[in-house]
């Protein structure tokens, strides 16, 4: 195994900052006289908040441990070998920091091969091997266990996944080849493709067992003891492990086809990882693991050197790290406590906000509106939603009682807001109305209360301008659906003070939202970029490119939905309104489409009808469109649109709308659902050469979301 040692040594030199995992070998006597046993514990020496990972040195350590137990097994000194993790963690796979540092195909190939070379030894020893999934297991952590002869899993295991495809990789240390051969292709597709592409959905211990990945399931309280007793029984022959026969017929091909359909619906062919994984799963049908492992190595190396994975890791770091430490947020210590929340308005948006504040803050929430009927309707909505949560078992009766008692509605703002610490308005999107509302609120609210606005396009500074205390006005812009999209744009008006801003960030954290600090600029971040993006598509259509062709030109990006489907979701009227606002601010770049105006005027809810099950241009809309005669190719359309987006982002960064391009991407990922493989958008614009073409430079330095120089 000296070649493995050499390989890993070389890789370790590339990654001096690795948090190294030790592979401790400890011997024990199995119960029931089942003999001497070697148990390998994977442990990085840190507590459970720093999960165990595999970098090159870690793999080398595991390799050395396998050297030791291999010898003992060959000599007959042990009857079996086990592998488990430190408390609460089994192992969570490859260390992504190490992957980011890889600069060339050969090094990338070496890391894939290094992992394989070490892991696959566990299936070729003179005694059986057992993996005990005691805690969180992901990626390479799952895979090291798949190479073992048997597996047990803890009922307390909270998270188990092969998240590689989610990031832009394939499970490349055996996962693609081994899993379908263990549990069948269909279940493997669920784990490798479906879960991964559904926001990296995690399995719990019980599901790991039910899927057939583990042979036995034990409770957390004495998981390792029971696993070792079970091991003894397996070795003694008193327990026989039976696994259902894997269907290698049509079911296998159907599973792969199902995986392709899932991938198409999620990434629309725009990111290669899922398809590479499916190719390997398809080829694994013949059970040739060696060929499968080689294919995994090649796929890993190709993907590691590709922009989609680099963008994926960049995106992952944005939502995992940057989202938790918002750039430019003031000192947390300045934040004031929020013990009561007021909501101005009791319409649908206001009611949704009331529900969110209620559930996350668990403080009194008061809704106000202009008549009792609206107020009652708002409170009724919140109560009904609480009942739904109760019905689903998400909350218990006590919690439901508590939450219902906390939400009230009044007509009189003075009565409702006199002791509120945080008051948010969600009234009609019209500056005069909002100014009027804030003036009324200021007259009755405590001096320290934050006045927040959920405006999507109006100026926060202007809204605050007529108040006695404009320093406490903050923009608090949620994205629809409020319960699902994580983004919250927190807008600092010209006079907003640090304490108010810190309070707003504190509330955002409690709401479990991804808060991004945004300057008070027209339409802030997401709506500005989306409007420019949609506006350019609309321009192209208005100039003469057929609707279908314009839409098709955007498909290679793999966005969650096509531009016109998104317009339908937002509502053409709102889309038109925002484009008008931005047109007033930036008339040279934002147009107001006469065709869109006509569609809105006709009262159409969208461009498409779905009578055939698929979106088709509504003939009534088609009749309304007045198009020119310039028909662009798909590539021309794409260039026009991406150039516009790159230009707009460049200008926004120049204006200081956000601190860095990273914040733009974080907004697009969490507020518009733009995909990881685009990195939001700036890594994609950089790697496709758009940024340089439009702005003369890239948005991100080499290596930030790309292969380092």
């Amino acid at each position: 195994m000296s070649s493995t040692t050499e390989l890993l040594k070389g890789a370790a030199e590339l990654f001096p900052g690795e948090v190294v995992t030790q592979a401790h070998v400890r011997h024990l006597d199995l119960p029931a006289g089942a003999g001497r046993f070697a148990l390998i514990t994977l442990d990085n020496g840190l507590d459970h908040t720093k999960p165990t990972t595999f970098g090159p040195q870690s793999l080398a350590n595991l390799n050395a441990a396998v050297d030791q137990v291999e010898k003992e097994a060959a000599e007959g000194a042990i009857t079996g070998i086990g592998i488990t993790g430190k408390p609460f963690i089994f192992a969570v796979g490859a260390d992504l920091k190490g992957v980011e540092l890889l600069k060339n195909h050969d090094d990338a190939l070496a890391i894939g091969k290094g992992g394989h070379d070490v892991f696959r030894r566990l299936s070729g020893l003179a005694v059986p091997t057992f993996a005990y999934y005691n805690g969180a297991a992901m990626g390479g952590g799952v895979e090291v266990g798949l190479h073992c002869s048997y597996r047990t899993v803890s009922k307390a295991l909270p998270a188990f996944s092969l998240p590689e495809v989610f990031l832009g990789l394939v499970p490349g240390w055996g996962g693609c080849a081994l899993l379908p051969n263990l549990i069948g292709a269909d279940r493997a597709v669920s784990v490798i493709i479906e879960n991964s592409l559904n926001q990296n959905r995690q399995l719990k211990g019980k599901q790991v067992f039910e899927l057939g990945i583990a042979d036995a399931l034990f409770e957390g309280a004495d998981f390792l003891e029971q696993s070792l007793i079970w091991t003894a029984n397996v070795l003694n022959g008193t327990v026989t492990v039976e696994r259902p026969e894997v269907d290698r017929g049509d079911a296998w091909d159907q599973a792969v086809a199902r995986g392709k359909a899932i991938a198409d619906s999620k990434v629309h062919g725009a990111a290669p990882a899922a398809y590479r994984a499916l190719d390997i799963i398809a080829a694994a049908k013949d059970g040739d693991l060696g060929a499968g492992f080689d294919a995994e190595d090649r796929a890993l190396a190709d993907l590691i050197m590709g922009g989609e994975l680099r963008s994926g890791i960049y995106s992952f770091n944005l939502v995992q790290k940057r989202a938790k430490r918002p750039a430019g947020a003031p000192d947390k210590a300045l934040a004031r406590p929020v013990t009561k929340v007021g909501v101005v308005g009791a319409g649908l948006m206001a009611s949704q906000l009331a529900l969110l504040f209620l559930r996350r803050l668990e403080v009194p929430v008061v809704l106000t509106d202009i008549d009792q009927e609206r107020v009652d309707k708002g409170v009724g909505y919140v109560h009904a939603e609480i009942e739904k949560l109760l019905g689903k078992g998400r909350i218990n009766q006590d919690k439901a009682n508590r939450l219902k008692a906390l939400v009230t509605g009044v007509l009189d703002k003075a009565e409702g807001f006199s002791d509120a610490d945080f008051i948010i308005e969600a009234v009609f999107e019209e500056i005069g109305v909002k100014q009027q509302v804030f003036a009324e609120v200021e007259a009755v609210a405590p001096a320290h209360a934050i006045l927040a606005t959920n405006t999507s396009s109006l100026s926060v500074t202007e809204m605050a301008s007529k108040l006695k205390h404009p320093e406490r006005v903050v923009g608090f812009h949620f994205f629809n659906p409020v319960a699902i999209l994580p983004l919250l744009e927190i807008v600092r008006g010209e006079q907003t003070d640090d304490a108010s801003l810190a309070t707003a960030f504190g509330v955002a954290r409690k709401l479990k939202k991804t808060a991004v600090l945004v300057k008070d600029a027209p339409a802030f971040v997401v709506n500005r970029i989306l409007t420019r993006f949609m506006g350019e598509i609309q321009n192209v259509i208005d100039e003469g490119t057929p609707v279908e062709a314009a839409e098709k030109a955007i498909e290679p990006l793999g966005l969650p939905m096509s531009p016109l489907v998104l317009l339908e979701l937002v509502g053409p009227a709102i889309g038109l309104h925002v484009s008008e606002t931005l047109n007033r601010a930036f008339p040279d770049r934002f147009t107001v489409s006469e065709n869109l105006a006509a569609v809105v005027k006709a009262g159409k809810r969208g461009f498409y009808v779905y009578d055939s099950g698929k979106p088709e241009l509504d003939p009534e809309v088609a009749a309304l469109l007045k198009q020119g005669d310039v028909v662009l190719s798909e590539e021309q359309v794409r260039d026009r649109v991406l150039d516009a987006v790159a230009q707009e982002i460049g200008l926004m960064l120049d204006e200081g709308v956000v601190a860095e391009a990273q914040d733009i991407d974080l907004c697009l990922i969490t507020g518009a659902g733009w995909p990881f493989h685009l990195g939001g958008i700036t890594p994609y614009l950089d790697r496709e050469g758009v940024s340089e073409r439009v702005n003369g430079k890239k948005f991100l330095a080499q290596g930030v979301a790309s292969v380092p120089a």
Binding site: R26, L28, L39, T41, E219, A221, E225
Partner: protein, 409 residues
């Protein structure tokens, strides 16, 4: 209301292997509450006929009720063990007789009719909680000479007992200790002990203590098979210069936990639970704290009297071996030979260890096994000395007793 006293039976008992306290001990990185939890879970696994919801009480003893031995262990261990929330629990303390008292207290409540089925046990992690941790003795003990200053140091009380009984020499104590080790080794060889041990997974991160990573403990760590008189002769006498008490003729400082299942006999029969011993009587007694090792004598007198039995009726003895001298004082009192076959057939705490508040149930579990094997024996007793001058005795009847097979012993 009319009331009938019910018979109480010992259904089953298990324990963790015992460990040596201290940084190199097997349980150094294992929590005390986890030891109890695993013992309770093993008890339930071994008795699948028992619906856990039928457990009326969980009484867990610990001497030092701090940290992982605090927080009302009986309740918290029950929750951690996965018992239904409806099952209550409490903590109990009578130092070394903690688990024994957990048994007698809950047994009394069963007899009274308050409970049908209980879990009673104890734990002491003397590595994490050294004897005397956090104690704050009232200064009046000394200023008013309420107790001798040696009363707080168990080894010194053992030396005091040697003073009281000059015929109990260091040689007799060492000889007793060697026999205890021999009997324990034999019991292990015959598989008498392992059947009631629950394996415990243990983590080690300190390489100085041995191989690191997760391991599994399946045997008692303190045992020293092959101990000889010669090897004991040279040991230091840490409690007194030229004294008699050594690490060799006393129990060590240990970590471990025990748990037992008790039930009203009619309930046990109805549920199909095993009946391993039937409770006859129990008693506690106080003696001068500076000779606490004398305690088992008056407590046994009381327990025998309550049962209407004499010492001659007792066919098997399980005496906790905190110190050899304390066992020998008991045997001398009753005129029983040092090597009498009825006494500690599987060896005792000198070999296995004595994690204070856990030990009482170990004695019972071992007596129960001996009852099974010896149906000719009708009565047995478990007894132990207790800090601050106490003794504790429980007398048990063998449900397997067969008159045809033997006498009235």
């Amino acid at each position: 209301m009319p009331r009938t006293i019910r018979d109480v039976v010992f259904v089953d008992g298990v324990r963790t292997p015992f460990g040596k306290a201290g940084p190199k001990g097997i349980y150094h990185e294992t929590r005390a509450d986890d030891l109890v939890v695993k013992a309770i879970r093993e008890l339930l696994r071994r008795n699948p006929a028992l619906d856990p919801a039928k457990i009326d009480e969980v009484a867990i003893a610990a001497t030092t009720q701090i940290g992982d031995q605090g927080l009302t262990l009986g309740r918290t261990a029950g929750i951690l063990a996965g018992l239904p929330q409806s099952v209550p629990g409490y903590s109990i303390d009578r130092m070394c007789a903690g688990a024994l008292t957990a048994v007698t207290s809950t047994a009394g409540s069963i007899a009274f009719g308050a409970y049908d089925v209980v879990v009673a046990g104890g734990v002491e992690h003397m590595g994490r909680h050294p004897m005397g941790e956090g104690v704050d003795p009232n200064p009046r003990f000394v200023s008013e000479k309420l107790v001798d200053e040696s009363a707080l140091f168990m080894g010194m009380t053992a030396e005091n007992l040697h003073d009281r009984y000059p015929q109990i020499t260091k040689l007799r104590a060492d000889e007793y200790a060697v026999r205890s080790q021999e009997k324990a080794a034999k019991a292990y060889a015959n598989g008498k002990i392992q059947q009631d041990l629950v394996p415990i997974s243990v983590r080690r991160t300190n390489a100085e203590a041995g191989e690191t990573g997760w391991g599994l403990v399946t045997a008692d760590e303190p045992m020293r098979p092959g101990t000889t008189l010669e090897s004991l002769a040279g040991l230091k006498t840490p409690f007194r210069a030229h004294g008699r008490v050594t690490a060799g003729n006393a129990a060590g400082l240990n970590d471990g936990a025990t748990a037992s299942l008790l039930a009203a006999e009619d309930v046990a029969r109805e549920l199909g639970l095993p009946v391993k011993m039937r409770l006859v009587s129990y008693a506690f007694a106080g003696v001068e704290p500076e000779v606490m090792g004398y305690g088992p004598i008056p407590s046994t007198e009381k327990a025998l009297a309550k049962a209407g039995l004499s010492i001659g009726d007792i066919g098997l003895f399980e005496i906790n071996e905190a110190f050899a001298v304390q066992v020998l004082a008991f045997l001398d009192h009753y005129g029983i030979a040092d090597d009498d076959a009825r006494v500690n057939q599987y060896g005792g705490a000198i070999a296995y260890g004595h994690p204070l508040a856990s030990s009482g149930v170990r004695l019972m579990t071992q007596l129960a096994r001996q009852f099974e094997e010896q149906p000719e024996v009708r009565y047995g007793l478990t007894t132990m000395c207790v800090g601050f001058g106490m003794g504790a005795t429980v007398i048990w009847e063998n449900p397997h007793f067969d008159k045809a097979d033997g006498g009235n012993k």
